[in-house]
């Protein structure tokens, strides 16, 4: 691989600047160590693959969002993320009830998996976070009405009582809040759909 002589810190820096091959080199360099570490804890190839994948999704998001500040300590940082995800895995396992399929009765015949899959859950979280950030940028009076209506499920009558403005004013603020949100979304081509 062409970047095999570069240090982790340089590769991380290159990746942050947009060099996608730097990530490939980093994964190639450390995958065995990280994967073995995960496998040594969970002893399951499929679970190890999932945790390895989640570890790097976290790494990628952190690096691209500019939140990484541990130059020169890339591997220990990734190992810590993997370690935390392993702990999450075992915590989740303890909370989940276990059923044994003994042939007479299959739990899957009555329980369907209505949950979103991993990708959709990721998108849903992202959309919700983006929307929260957008709402945060609204003028205070519009934000107040929108939060009461959409997040606290209050009626416009209740909003009017609480804020001390007329129902029409509250309605107007809600309308402008939505118009302003749409404007910012259109202007920046932000996709808020799952």
């Amino acid at each position: 691989m062409k970047d095999c002589t570069l240090s982790d810190a340089v590769l991380v820096n290159n990746y942050i600047k947009g060099d996608e091959t730097a990530l490939s080199t980093l994964i190639e360099r450390h995958k065995q160590r990280i994967y073995s570490f995960i496998y040594s804890k969970v002893f399951d190839r499929d679970v190890s693959e999932d945790i390895f994948q989640d570890t790097f999704i976290k790494v990628i998001r952190t690096l691209k969002l500019g939140k990484y500040n541990e130059e020169g300590k890339f591997l220990p940082w990734v190992m810590r993320i993997a370690h935390n995800l392993v702990i999450d895995h075992f915590r989740k396992g303890n909370r989940m009830p276990k059923f044994e399929d003994n042939g007479e009765f299959s739990i899957f015949s009555i329980i369907s998996d209505g949950d979103l899959n991993a990708e959709k859950r990721l998108i849903k979280d992202q959309v919700e976070e983006d929307l929260r950030n957008l709402i945060h940028e609204l003028p205070e009076d519009q934000k107040e009405v929108l939060v009461m209506r959409m997040y606290r499920d209050m009626s416009f009558k209740e909003i009017s009582d609480k804020t001390g403005v007329s129902i029409n004013t509250a309605l107007g603020r809600m309308r402008y809040a939505l118009i302003n949100l749409r404007k910012v979304i259109d202007k920046n081509n932000i996709v808020l759909t799952n």
């Binding site: 994964i27 994948q53 932000i190």
Partner: protein, 48 residues
Amino acid sequence: MAKFYFMSSQREEKQLVPRKDTVDLILNYSKALSVIDYKNMKFEALLN
């Protein structure tokens, strides 16, 4: 489902690497993810 760990566990540990599919998925996710800066906010977008 029964699992038997006593078979060849030592041999397996030497070559423990993630599947190529997993690595490819990570690299594709990285290529698809773009972060849009707007004022003081950062938006993530997955572009396929």
